[in-house]
């Protein structure tokens, strides 16, 4: 029995070894950049972490920043397990957010509990629809999902901007002044702030969305590793041909994995709207949660539980950068650190997954259909 436990521990160590190393090295390189600005890296990192963990309120804000990253990380990982690279989480997130606002207007007279559920479902639906497009194109026509998803990210951005400017603008719905954002979500549809339960969170806007994220991660873990659905998704991801041979539909699973991934991304949008912003603004660029989600998933080894940990790390970094900035250190150091973590993880996959990756590409069934 003791032996088995040791093995379990060994497995965990094997899995976190590389990400931890990547994080450590990135922080060291980040320190060099900080030193370059003439500041002490130790002071900077102290500011960074005290800014995000220093007191309950700050910790609450960190959890708030962690929330969407859990969703987008898990979303990326789910598709990745099916051999798909969902770079379209940005767009799916945007669609989830705008759908949420739309649902908030349509169902504005419903009572709180029901409305919240409907809002979350609407966001999920928005993301799912947006992910369905690259999914079905990959499944049925063999089109590479990465390019389609990138194109759809920008399409979503402009579509959302259009909706913000017209259909959901207060000037259209309420006849008030034209604004660069949508109407607000009805009061009863907003997610409960944790400070209402635990007053210590104080000014922080952290809300029950965080728990929705954690529950989502756990559910996805169960689906991936304990159900036939997850078995099929993972089988297709590793070897579509063998899956097909075993009676598993490649097209169905590719589409489904993409849709589920998009649904989770859309949920991220819904939770952000219902828990924090209560509206959607005109935007010039991507919200960035999708790209961070890729990093979070990779650092978390595409495992939902690992993702909980790595999302927290990225949330802490994102939250602490403001206080670091106030201390006179460019907040971009955090972006540099994140980029370097991803670079290391990309290079590290080599050591562990080389045979996998090679096979995945050379045996990529749908790609061959394209020929």
């Amino acid at each position: 029995m003791q032996n088995k436990e040791k093995n379990f521990l060994q497995v965990i160590i094997d899995n976190v070894k590389f990400p931890l190393l990547a994080i450590l090295v990135s922080f060291i390189i980040g320190a060099l950049f900080i030193a370059w600005t003439g500041h002490s890296p130790l002071v900077a990192y102290y500011e960074l972490f005290s800014g995000s963990l220093g007191n309950f309120g700050r910790f609450g804000e960190s959890l708030l920043k962690t929330t969407p990253l859990i969703f987008t990380g898990v979303a990326f990982a789910f598709a990745y397990r099916c051999g798909l690279f969902n770079i379209g989480i940005e767009g799916q997130y945007i669609m989830g957010a705008i759908f949420t606002v739309g649902a908030g207007w349509i169902f504005r007279d419903l009572p709180g509990g029901i409305l919240v559920v409907l809002l979350l479902l609407a966001g999920t639906l928005g993301g799912a629809i947006w992910a369905f497009i690259p999914g079905i194109l990959k499944a049925k026509r063999g089109v590479h999902e990465v390019i389609v998803a990138i194109m759809l990210n920008y399409t979503a951005l402009y579509l959302s901007n259009y909706i913000v400017r017209t259909i959901l603008n207060p000037s259209v719905l309420l006849g008030t002044e034209k604004k660069a954002s949508t109407i607000m979500l009805p009061e009863q549809g907003r997610l409960l702030l944790l400070s209402k339960i635990v007053p210590a969170f104080g000014y922080s806007s952290v809300n029950i969305g965080f728990f929705i994220a954690v529950i989502t991660a756990i559910v996805i873990w169960f689906v991936l590793f304990k159900t036939t659905l997850g078995y099929e998704v993972r089988s297709v991801g590793h070897n579509p041909y063998a899956s097909e041979y075993g009676g598993i539909s490649i097209a169905k699973n590719i589409t489904l994995a993409m849709v589920i991934s998009g649904a989770i991304a859309g949920l991220a949008g819904a939770v952000t709207v219902a828990g924090l912003s209560y509206k959607v603004d005109q935007a010039a660029g991507m919200p960035g949660y999708g790209f961070s989600g890729i990093a979070v998933a990779l650092v978390g080894q595409n495992h939902p539980i690992g993702i909980l940990a790595s999302a927290l790390l990225f949330g802490v970094l994102a939250n602490g950068e403001r206080k670091m900035q106030m201390a006179g250190i460019p907040k971009e150091v955090v972006g540099i650190i994140q980029a370097i973590i991803i670079l290391f993880i990309a290079a590290e996959q080599v050591v562990k997954y080389l045979p996998d990756i090679k096979k995945k590409f050379s045996k990529n069934k749908t790609q061959e259909v394209q020929k």
Binding site: T228, Y241, P355, D356, V369
Partner: protein, 507 residues
């Protein structure tokens, strides 16, 4: 005779495997020297070292008496060595000429920066006429036949001035007639002073094509013999390391009712042309029906249609009277069909999954493997442990990933999984490809056992010897059609060979 190549004490170590173990090999000028061995014996590795694709871990190579350090193919090419690989190294959207000159381009203009295709075409034409290798220099590779592609590969080496040619399993994709033509081409090359190394595992080719033969087994050279001084049985024994019983013991067959009925099946291949044309045959209970033919004549597509992996555009097929033509592969599995696929890495296993997870592939949605969509891992592991014991699969436990097993054990595991479904019909597609002789014997025994139990077995094989050893009846496939069905007991190789090449047998 002058020695053009001498490889001395060559050792090559890959992580975990010794592919070549102090190998000595010599090639004399103007000879055809066969390198004979089983799959995985280390023949190709040795030649890849000679061609500079791998670097030897230790040992020395002499070319024309000079010590050579062949770090990359460029050096090999300069030394006059050319290699035709088993899987052709041709860029499909390129023309014949573009492929031939690639890496040794002719150029013109200031500083020679511009490609000179005209000169290149002319030169290609000259060489092809000199050696009697007819090709169209402007045709695209994707539009020409496999035999033609092979000629392009040979031309590629000659264009670079190769004096020493290495051909890796050149006959695997050819019809018996094309093999004969290749033999003639090789004779012509030797006549012009070239020296040739031929890699093969087919004993008959050794006898028909070679001057000398070197037998390799498990990375070691066993012996080098003159063709005149040996025979097929001796070579087989040297290659495998023990007496080989090429015959499979089996009782007379008692065929029963029809299990599989195939009627007028037509299907397309991946390129969108017709791969199967009006295929009809039946397989009865208690018999092994074999499909014989040269690779690429529709075997893969036929098996895929029958297992639901490819949709037919015409015709029907039924198992025990139940029409399966429109069924999904899952439904087909459920109606009593087992399938040993031709490529275990591509189809048979999810290599990254544990053996246990591979053991339930295809049954994972059925109780007791899962219930209401939730997997029962306790049962899945127990089931897999039984497969491992019953079929003697060598593995530490059922938790290791499938890629940790040797090829033979992977194949045994697949056979175990498929036969344990208790099917009515077994489709075995090249069930012994690339496995060691021990596994071959085991798998043959199991197939005959199933037949004797009254199951129907459809065997698809490229190895005529395997077909002749196992089949009760043989259908020959050529160009997507069954061109003839003969009894296994009375079939003779020559007759099958003619049919496999699309010829008619007059009786």
């Amino acid at each position: 005779m002058a020695k053009v190549v001498e490889m001395k004490n060559i050792t090559k170590v890959f992580p975990g495997v010794v592919a070549n173990d102090s190998v000595n090999f010599e090639l004399e000028k103007g000879e055809i020297h066969v390198l004979l061995g089983e799959n995985g014996a280390g023949k190709t590795t040795l030649m890849n070292i000679l061609y500079g694709l791998y670097e030897q871990t230790s040992g020395e190579i002499f070319v024309n008496g000079q010590l050579a350090n062949i770090k990359d193919p460029n050096i090999a090419i300069k030394l006059g060595i050319g290699m035709v690989h088993q899987h052709f190294m041709l860029v499909e959207p390129f023309t014949v000429t573009e492929n031939i000159i690639l890496g040794a381009e002719t150029s013109k203009g200031p500083h020679n920066i511009q490609l000179d295709m005209e000169t290149a075409s002319k030169k290609v034409k000259e060489i092809s006429e000199l050696y009697g290798l007819a090709v169209d220099p402007n045709a695209k590779i994707e539009d020409i036949t496999v035999g033609m592609q092979q000629r392009v590969e040979i031309l590629k080496t000659l264009y670079r001035g190769a004096e020493i040619l290495i051909l890796d399993e050149p006959t695997a994709v050819l019809t018996p007639q094309e093999i004969e033509e290749l033999g003639m081409i090789l004779q012509k090359l030797v006549g012009q002073g070239k020296s040739i190394i031929l890699i093969t595992h087919k004993l008959k080719e050794v006898m028909s094509m070679s001057d000398r033969v070197t037998v390799v087994r498990r990375g070691k050279v066993i012996e080098t013999l003159k063709k005149e001084n040996t025979n097929i049985d001796e070579l087989a024994e040297l290659m495998v390391g023990r007496k080989v019983n090429l015959k499979v013991d089996k009782a007379d067959h008692k065929s029963g009712k029809t299990v599989l009925e195939v009627h007028g099946i037509e299907a397309m291949n991946n390129r969108g042309s017709k791969a199967l044309k009006e295929i009809s045959f039946e397989v009865k209970a208690g018999e092994i029906f074999a499909i014989a033919g040269v690779d690429g004549n529709g075997q893969t597509e036929l098996v895929e249609v029958l297992t639901g992996l490819r949709k037919s555009i015409k015709g029907t097929f039924a198992v025990n009277g139940k029409d399966l033509q429109k069924m999904s592969s899952k439904k087909i599995i459920d109606s009593g069909m087992a399938h040993i696929p031709e490529d275990r890495h591509k189809r048979g296993l999810v290599l990254e999954h544990s053996l246990a997870e591979n053991g339930c592939l295809g049954n994972h949605k059925d109780e007791p493997f899962s219930k209401h969509g939730i997997l029962n891992y306790d049962y899945i592991h127990e089931y897999c442990r039984n497969l491992i014991t019953e079929y003697d699969v060598r593995t530490p436990n059922e938790r290791v990933s499938a890629k940790a097993l040797s090829g033979g054990n992977q194949q045994k595991f697949i056979v175990a999984r498929e036969l344990n479904r208790h099917p009515e019909l077994i489709i075995a597609s090249q069930p012994t490809r690339g496995v060691d002789v021990g596994a071959i014997e085991f798998i043959h025994k199991k197939l005959v056992e199933q037949r004797d139990m009254g199951k129907a077995v459809l065997l698809v094989s490229l190895e005529l010897d395997e077909v002749l050893a196992l089949a009760d009846r043989i259908g020959v496939i050529y160009d997507g059609q069954i061109v003839g069905i003969v009894s296994g007991a009375t079939a003779d190789e020559k007759e099958l060979g003619i049919m496999m090449a699309g010829g008619k047998v007059n009786k």
